[in-house]
Symmetry: C3
Subunit: 341 residues, 3 copies
């Protein structure tokens, strides 16, 4: 395994095509803050499983197309090469590529829209990172969120698109909440909470994503599970909508916050774990509030709540022995193989 | 009086418990930009009066709990000690603590929500101040506004909460405005405009708050009254909703803008007074616009309009002989006693 | 012609009144990024034609009043004199002055509202430029957009105003789109797309504005046409609302993006033209999305989409041989006469 990985890295250094493929494969992994092409491969399998299992293979095709277009656009715009090779220009267009065929109906024009959206996601990534670096932050997945919101909201104004979000625009508080009822069959819900990071509703995919995390970082896998479990139980306790709960929709934003705050951007420890648990609650409340704000527009929150919560948690100057992004990957499974981000 | 104050200051320097109480007491005073524990005590009495008078003592309890939790959270996060001692981490959680029992129904879970909200307000204070310091600004009461909006909007999504804002989500322009009709009994309305800074609807509380201001700064008291009178008369002239007008709801944002721009952040004078009068109109128009934006969501503007208007008024580089915050407190009543902010 | 222009410049240097008039005349020209009083005069004629032609001369009066009030307010606030002389404090209040009588009903109070709004636009210009300069950007026409949104949204809350936007607040996706149907009579639509930059629905005005651009910069005229044609055809293809299409409402934002990105802020060339074409599509999609966001509030997008799209396009560090604003005016018709911005 180590030998294969070393050989792949060597190939990527020399062969431009392999280098491009390597950068693309790191994209899906960077959604969950990992810089590892093998993690990316397993995540692609997880997304493919979810897409084919739900009878919508075009969702997988859209993700791959978005990933390639976004990564290629970044190359054409001559972005910072080191960041590009880490997959940092692939992860948001990958998600945009999954979202467009998930939320718009199938037709040729949708694919053009997807390609323009993926290229746009790369431009927005460059723009928002230029904004956020003033505070030592990055835009995370917000370029995907913003671009997809724009694409969905614009689709309302075009006769040739139909928005399939299953969210009819209405006033917040209208309609009846089914309420959370305790359910001992929670494990699949937790796993779906993890797969929903990639807009996939499948516990098998969730399991595959945990394996993908384990390949690169044990702590990331642990905190992904903590995030899914914590946010889902909190939503259950407060009486959130049962149908959404069952799909894992209250887990995925907290999964990302927990990995970022608990495992990747700080050295894991007791104080950091306490702050992360608070961050999970913060993410859930921000998600619920954002859902209310978007109710009259009929669009989903996507990973917006994770972005907002994590910015809020990172902005204060704290004393948690912060470490540069991914420095601690040294302690993880394949640390001898992969250079960290 | 001076002797007692000096002894209290000495005690606060030595005794950690007295220091904590002192920091807490300065919180309510910092809502109106005063750094004086006695001002804080009188404001607490004003809020208690309003809460008990309206038969809702839990509003006062919520305010005190929010104040203590927010101040303690800041201590745990090891914030800048000098700012902490001035009450700058108490004023927003104090308002969050008042808002939650005002707008959500009474139940045990509401109190947990309030505690999480107060702690969250402190994190948001740290985050937003880190953002705003790039332009030499502070976040004022916006952490309270943002956190309370999130708590109210999230409550729509939870079966176990009922939102009591008396604002049904609807489209702006729907429903009939009762219109402003001139009323010679305006003085209580002006006073309620001042008490609404603390979400209290009571002219007695308004009077107590003016006394609290007078203890620390005559000019602040004068501009508080100018703000309430100016904005209320302007709203009356333009034909704003009579019911809201009567409750003082068109006064409180302008009260804060007028104190900040007219008395605290600039040296009072003719040009500054002209700019402040313009700022009062700006605050009212922004408040009305923000009310329209929030109409479909059914949540109140809180002190959002004051924050936005004051940022806009402070951002331009002007030539009004700006002075550091509170420097001019030297000219006020107890200036020999209290160190300024 | 050159001699007259040189004499006018000399007069403006010596005579304060002529200098004020000169600064005012450059305001309308700066909406389309030109620093030339003659361009401003022709644009004023175009706006006058549109206003009188539609039987609403008060729209022209409002524009002139806004221009004078905004420019005078900037003088009173002692802004940077060089920027002031270039008309950079006149263009947003000019647009605010056109928008208020377009969207509010005729009555004396409307004129006071317009004057306060024009003065407010200048304060907001100063504030937003202070914010945006951190990223090397300016606020473009966003002060006009923000101020006009506030004035229209606030008008809903005042009994004495009636909002005439012809946009009833509703949910996005409600109502039927008429759909785009191909129409060989597209030239007047393209021209109206240019006149709508100034909220005017007239192909004659559009033609006059092209002439105004030609006076100062051939490339600006070319890219204005490219923007109008590109965005309109794209909207037609995707099936946007036919009524709005016919009024040129899908053209004007792209016109501004195309002039800014293609002709003024970069040296025109092949790569820049490609980026500009992408920018035109981006502007249209952002416009459609913004229209959906504003549907429940019943207010128009104004030139908001151009601002957002152009910020996004300028924020990334690119390698298009960027030139300082208007440096390339040297190549234009009157370059020997006018100093560039």
């Amino acid at each position: 395994m180590t030998a294969i990985a070393r050989r792949w890295d060597g190939l990527a250094d020399r062969n431009p095509l392999v280098q491009f493929i390597d950068a693309c494969l790191r994209g899906p992994a960077q959604v969950v803050f990992q810089n590892n092409p093998l993690t990316g491969v397993v995540i692609l399998i997880a997304v493919a499983w979810g897409a084919f299992d739900s009878g919508q293979p075009r969702i997988f095709g859209g993700g791959v197309l978005g990933l390639v277009v976004g990564t290629a656009t970044a190359l054409a715009l001559q972005v910072d090469r080191a960041s590009w090779r880490k997959g940092l220009f692939g992860f948001s267009p990958f998600l945009t590529g999954i979202a467009v065929p998930t939320f718009l109906d199938q037709r040729p024009l949708m694919w053009l829209y997807l390609v323009l959206g993926a290229a746009g996601t790369t431009v927005v990534t460059l723009a928002l990172n230029a904004v956020f670096k003033r505070w030592g932050l990055t835009a995370f997945t917000f370029p995907f969120v913003l671009t997809t919101w724009v694409l969905l909201l614009a689709a309302y104004q075009f006769d040739r698109f139909t928005v399939l979000t299953q969210l009819t625009p209405k006033f917040p508080g209208e309609g009846t909440l089914t309420g959370g009822h305790f359910n001992w069959d929670l494990v699949p819900i937790f796993l779906r909470g993890i797969s929903q990071v990639f807009l996939i509703n499948s516990w098998v995919s969730g399991l595959l994503i945990i394996i993908a995390l384990l390949i690169n970082s044990r702590w990331s896998a642990v905190f992904a599970i903590v995030g899914a479990v914590g946010a889902t139980l909190l939503a259950l306790w407060f009486g959130a909508d049962g149908t959404s709960l069952d799909k894992g929709l209250f887990g995925f934003n907290a999964v990302l916050t927990a990995i970022a705050v608990g495992a990747v951007l700080h050295r894991p420890g007791l104080l950091v774990t306490g702050y992360t648990l608070f961050g999970i609650a913060l993410t859930l409340f921000i998600q619920m509030a954002m859902a209310s704000v978007l109710t009259p527009l009929g669009i989903p929150v996507l990973t917006g709540p994770f972005n907002v919560a994590t910015w809020l948690l990172l902005l204060p100057d704290r004393h948690f022995a912060p470490v540069p992004n991914h420095e601690r990957v040294k302690e993880t499974v394949v640390s001898s193989v992969r250079r960290s981000v």
